[in-house]
């Protein structure tokens, strides 16, 4: 209950008229005619039974008459019942701030109307209803650092800003925005301060652990009156959203098969049953499934598909609901294409098992790779005349140093993006190789070191793999399965010069501290040098379990199929730096809406969620750069549309006297109180009718 205010307090003397019926009642008890009556006892007997009802009737009659006069007198006073907040509110015009929640959740549609549109309309109504003497400011809370201008009287400017405001894609901290708005009000000389917050009151946007807003004034901080206008009008906001997508190769589907695990969150009060989930790419639905998600919980759905090789721009989608923007989550998938490998056998042998390429052949055979790697085996002479362009990876197994022309061709091949695998052997003469390959090698070769003789049981032990970089994409498969490396013995290997070169990375070390496998990036391609042999001449690694898959992985890596992790998605509002190759520049970046995004050199301003395609300019021409394509995804915080408890909200902002929640602008504006005079007149009429009935029945 609030307080009682009187519109005409000077008429309070009229209440004295309520005493008139009492006076009349007293005066009307005049001295009656006296009659000596013998049968008075019978009157007394009858009155004993009726005494109570007669007395009650007299009392009711007196009350009815008094109430009638009192109700009329009170009605003339025009009393008003004011709510507590109004009673506590400072009188006079108030410096006003309007905070408009423009976070992602405000895109939630009630019917066909986004909550943001409704909130914006209510903000406009508030602005129009403000008294002329009340300065105002507007803060659109869209996830950027909240800053509010000092309150002013230029309503038109605020209206323009309001009209131009849009719901964003990012989460917003409404609490911080409210505090910023309150701080801005401190510049007003007025004594009263009021902040209107128009939003959806979802719990992620309002932090109850933050301090309540305060207005700094010369006499100290003052708590403003905070009025929340609930754009959702106290209705729940159920929502399903895809909050995460995880990609993993699917062994069951073979090459180019992937499992896409989508996480679906249900923010509604009811469980979602058989919610359709689709995997889409290039505008087509590739896979469709159904998921059950309990209320206020998440569930996972795995969709598997075998893709074509290349860069796939795909997404996981739910059926659109009230907040359709979070029903789609885009991702970029790099699906490795089939690798064409040229294997140059530097030491062919009539006995197959003794052939230098025997184990490599086993590793890259169709039966082992599922056809993903198509390997061509040639000897050195045949390979020299073979063009290298059709291949993705060239493996030089124990080759003597190539001729300068061929070395140059190999260099150009790598520079253009090809992969080169080099392995040691008896034909590898370090100085010749250094002279032939030059900078193409990850490191210059030094000499061949023999640690032990094969078959010898006495003498120094052979070298072994000591450290393997399982973080490397080519070897990540072996993490946790070290025994395939630990058991391998290396009797002889090529030592490398200790000078480290640019862009080199050691994938595996031997226990003598020398690299066993080293790679370097050269141009667009890569070079991997394995310091021992791919046959059993120098090591028994080829007969260990890890050798064959290691060769497969290294070949795939060199071909670009095992690149770094899929490109991390960006979020709307981020500035993404593209890894543009040297000599190229970004021509355009096209966003999900088909419009170019804002680009500054290699930095892209991500404006909205979805796929972004990159076009590079290289020299005179342009090309699509699918390797630079990326997806922008929403911040999952805004997909939680659970609404905050209104009582908690009021309590945090100062209690009922300081904070309240309204459904619209008219409910938010300060109340002048509830007029009571009409009710009092109704009461007067009721008293009049009651008096009539009692008199008639008397």
């Amino acid at each position: 209950m609030g307080s009682l205010a009187l519109a005409n307090p000077w008429l309070v003397w009229g209440l004295l008229a309520a005493g008139v019926p009492v006076l009349i009642h007293l005066l009307s008890r005049r001295r009656a005619r006296q009659v000596a009556f013998a049968a008075v006892e019978f009157i007394l007997r009858s009155r004993q039974q009726k005494a109570r009802s007669v007395r009650l009737r007299q009392i009711l009659l007196l009350l009815a008459r008094t109430a009638l006069v009192a109700a009329v007198a009170l009605a003339i006073l025009r009393p008003m019942l004011q709510p507590k907040a109004a009673a506590a509110a400072q009188t006079g015009p108030a410096a006003t701030a309007i905070v408009l929640d423009a976070s992602l959740s405000m895109r939630w549609k009630d019917g066909a109307t986004p909550l943001f549109d409704r909130a914006r309309a209510e903000a406009k109504s508030l602005l129009d209803a403000l008294p002329a003497e009340a300065p105002a400011t507007l803060l659109v809370c869209d996830g950027t650092a909240p800053e509010a201008e000092p309150p002013g009287f230029d309503r038109a400017a605020i209206a323009r800003r309001l009209a131009a405001a849009q719901a964003g894609w990012r989460p917003a901290d409404v609490t911080a925005c409210t505090s910023a708005a309150a701080r801005a009000l401190g510049s007003s000389p007025l004594k009263a301060f009021r902040v209107y917050v128009l939003g959806d009151l979802t719990s992620p946007s309002i932090r109850l652990d933050a301090p309540a807003p305060r207005v700094p004034t010369p006499t100290g901080e003052v708590a403003p009156e905070v009025v929340f206008i609930d754009a959702a009008r106290d209705s729940p906001m159920p929502n399903l959203a895809v909050t995460d997508v995880h990609l993993a190769p699917s062994a069951a589907l073979g090459t180019r098969g992937f499992e896409i695990t989508a996480t679906v969150r249900n923010s509604g009060d009811r469980p979602a049953e058989n919610a359709p989930v689709s995997l889409r790419a290039a505008g087509r639905v590739l896979v469709r499934g159904f998921v059950d998600v309990p209320a206020h919980a998440s569930a996972r759905k795995v969709l598997a598909h075998r893709f074509d090789a290349g860069t796939i721009l795909a997404d996981v989608a739910l059926e659109p609901d009230a907040l359709a923007e979070d029903d789609v989550r885009a991702f970029v998938l790099r699906v490795p294409r089939d690798v064409r490998a040229l294997v140059v056998d530097g030491a062919p042998a009539a006995v197959r098992q003794k052939d230098e390429a025997f184990f490599v052949d086993a590793a890259l055979g169709p039966g082992r790779t599922g056809g993903r790697i198509a390997a061509t085996f040639l000897d050195a002479d045949a390979a020299r005349s073979r063009p290298l362009e059709p291949f993705d990876v060239v493996l030089l197994l124990n080759l003597p140093a190539p001729a300068p022309a061929w070395a140059s061709a190999l260099r150009a091949f790598v520079e253009r993006g090809g992969g080169l695998f080099l392995s040691g052997g008896d034909n590898v003469v370090p100085d010749d190789w250094n002279a032939a390959f030059g900078e193409l090698l990850p490191r210059p070769l030094h000499l061949v070191r023999t640690t032990a003789e094969p078959g010898e049981t006495s003498g120094p032990p052979p070298a072994r793999f000591a450290r393997v970089d399982f973080a490397h994409p080519a070897l990540s498969l072996f993490e946790g399965a070290d025994e395939g490396f630990e058991t391998a013995r290396v009797f002889r290997h090529v030592l490398l010069q200790p000078d480290a070169r640019r862009d080199e990375r050691v994938l595996a070390w031997l226990d003598d501290g020398s690299p066993a496998i080293i790679e370097a990036r050269r141009g667009l391609g890569r070079v991997v040098f394995y310091t021992s042999t791919v046959d059993r001449d120098w090591t028994d690694w080829p007969i260990r379990t890890s050798f064959l898959p290691a060769i497969q992985q290294l070949v795939a890596y060199l071909a670009g199929g095992l690149d770094e992790k899929p490109p991390a998605p960006s979020s709307p509002g981020d500035e993404r730096t593209l890894d543009v190759p040297p000599g190229a520049r970004v021509e355009t970046v096209t966003g999900p809406d088909g419009k170019p995004a804002r680009v500054e050199e290699t930095r892209v301003k991500v404006a909205m969620p979805g796929h972004h395609a990159v076009v590079l300019r290289e020299g005179a021409g342009t090309r699509d750069a699918p390797e630079l394509a990326f997806a922008a995804v929403l911040d999952t915080r805004e997909t939680d549309t659970t609404r905050i408890d209104p009582k908690e909200l009021e309590r945090h902002f100062g209690g009922e006297a300081q904070a309240r929640i309204a459904d619209d602008a008219s409910g938010a504006l300060p109340k002048s109180g509830t007029p009571l005079w009409s009710w009092l007149l109704v009461a007067a009429i009721a008293a009049f009718l009651t008096e009539g009935v009692l008199v008639r029945r008397g």
Binding site: R29, R30, R31, A32, R33, Q34, V35, A36, F37, A38, A39, V40, E41, F42, I43, L44, R45, S46, R47, Q49, K50, V54, G698
Partner: protein, 337 residues
């Protein structure tokens, strides 16, 4: 003055002498209160019967013997000498009588009416040779009696000087002489209503004093707060007394015609009640009717004759109806007995 006017109780109230009033009323009424059941030595010749051994010699009609030369005895009707009491309630409540609006004459009170009835009955009785007594019921007065009025400030005493109980104001045992009748009329004439009703006390006194087979005529409004009154009357019946109750009530008490706000004052006690008659009429009439019905029922159950005697009616008509009923009842008993 016409006979009809004489019969008007309001007209009779203007007459000064009660005996005259009583006689005028009585002469308009047929006599014949009773017949004895007993035949034997008669005061009045009834018939001859042939002498049989055992008959009284002194009853032989010698004249008849001289003429007929046979012995005949005379049969006489033996008229029993009836002893009757008139019990008159002279309590304060009997003093109620409403003056008609605009009328100059004094109101006829219930006591006035009862006096007329009582005097008429006494006259009838004495005139026909019966004895009539008077018992005035009413507790001692509290106000100073006016000159010539009977004072009951001191305990009343009977004719023999014996002290009377508080419920009895005056007691005149039944006599049949004219002088007794005159004295009875005088007592009635001077009687004023006073005191509380204690009919039970008076009747109990009478029950001790009266002979068996007496007649008792009670004239009262029966506004006795004690429930013993009717029980006491039943006790008289147990003594083979014939009891008749004349229930004297004012029309106001029967109709409750009041309209204006009125303060009702009790006549025998301190009761005061201010009420609007409209608000209490219905309840009052309910109570008074229930009282009348209950009284009739109890008296009937006790084999006591009940006569409704509103003061608005003619006392001669009332007595006429009463005597006719009595005679018819006596005739029925004679045929049956």
């Amino acid at each position: 003055m016409s006979e009809a006017a004489l019969l008007d109780p309001l007209l009779l109230a203007r007459l000064a002498t009660l005996p005259l009033r009583a006689r005028r009323v009585v002469e308009g009424v047929l006599t014949g209160l009773h017949r004895s059941r007993h035949q034997g030595q008669a005061v009045e010749f009834a018939e001859h019967k042939e002498y049989a051994p055992g008959d009284e010699i002194r009853h032989i009609d010698w004249r008849a013997y001289a003429r007929i030369d046979k012995y005949y005895v005379k049969n006489y009707e033996l008229e029993t000498n009836l002893r009757a009491w008139v019990v008159l309630d002279a309590s304060a409540s009997m003093g109620y009588g409403r003056r008609p609006p605009g009328a100059a004459r004094p109101p006829v009170t219930k006591l006035d009416y009862a006096k007329v009835l009582g005097a008429a009955l006494a006259y009838l009785l004495v005139r026909q040779g019966d004895s009539a007594g008077l018992l005035v019921a009413g507790s001692p007065m509290t106000q100073t009696p006016a000159a010539g009025e009977l004072s009951v400030a001191e305990p009343a005493r009977d004719a023999d000087g014996a002290r009377l109980p508080p419920a009895v104001r005056r007691c005149l045992p039944p006599r049949s002489s004219a002088a007794h009748l005159a004295g009875l009329m005088d007592v009635l004439e001077k009687l004023r209503p006073a005191g509380a009703t204690d009919l039970a006390g008076a009747v109990d006194f009478l029950a001790e004093k009266t002979h068996r087979r007496s007649s008792v005529f009670v004239l009262s409004d029966l506004f006795d707060p004690s429930p013993r009154a009717l029980a006491s009357l039943s006790r008289l019946r147990h003594r083979r007394c014939e009891v008749a109750v004349f229930h004297v009530l004012d029309p106001d008490e029967l109709e409750f015609p009041f309209e204006d706000p009125t303060e009702f004052l009790g006549m025998e006690g301190p009761e005061r009640l201010e009420a609007h008659p409209r608000s209490v009429r219905e309840g009052y009439l309910e109570e008074i009717r229930a009282f009348l019905a209950s009284t009739r029922r109890q008296l009937r159950d006790a084999d006591i004759e009940y006569v409704s005697a509103p003061t608005g009616g003619a006392p001669d008509r009332l007595l006429l109806d009463f005597l006719f009923r009595r005679r018819a009842a006596a005739a029925r008993r004679g045929r049956g007995g």
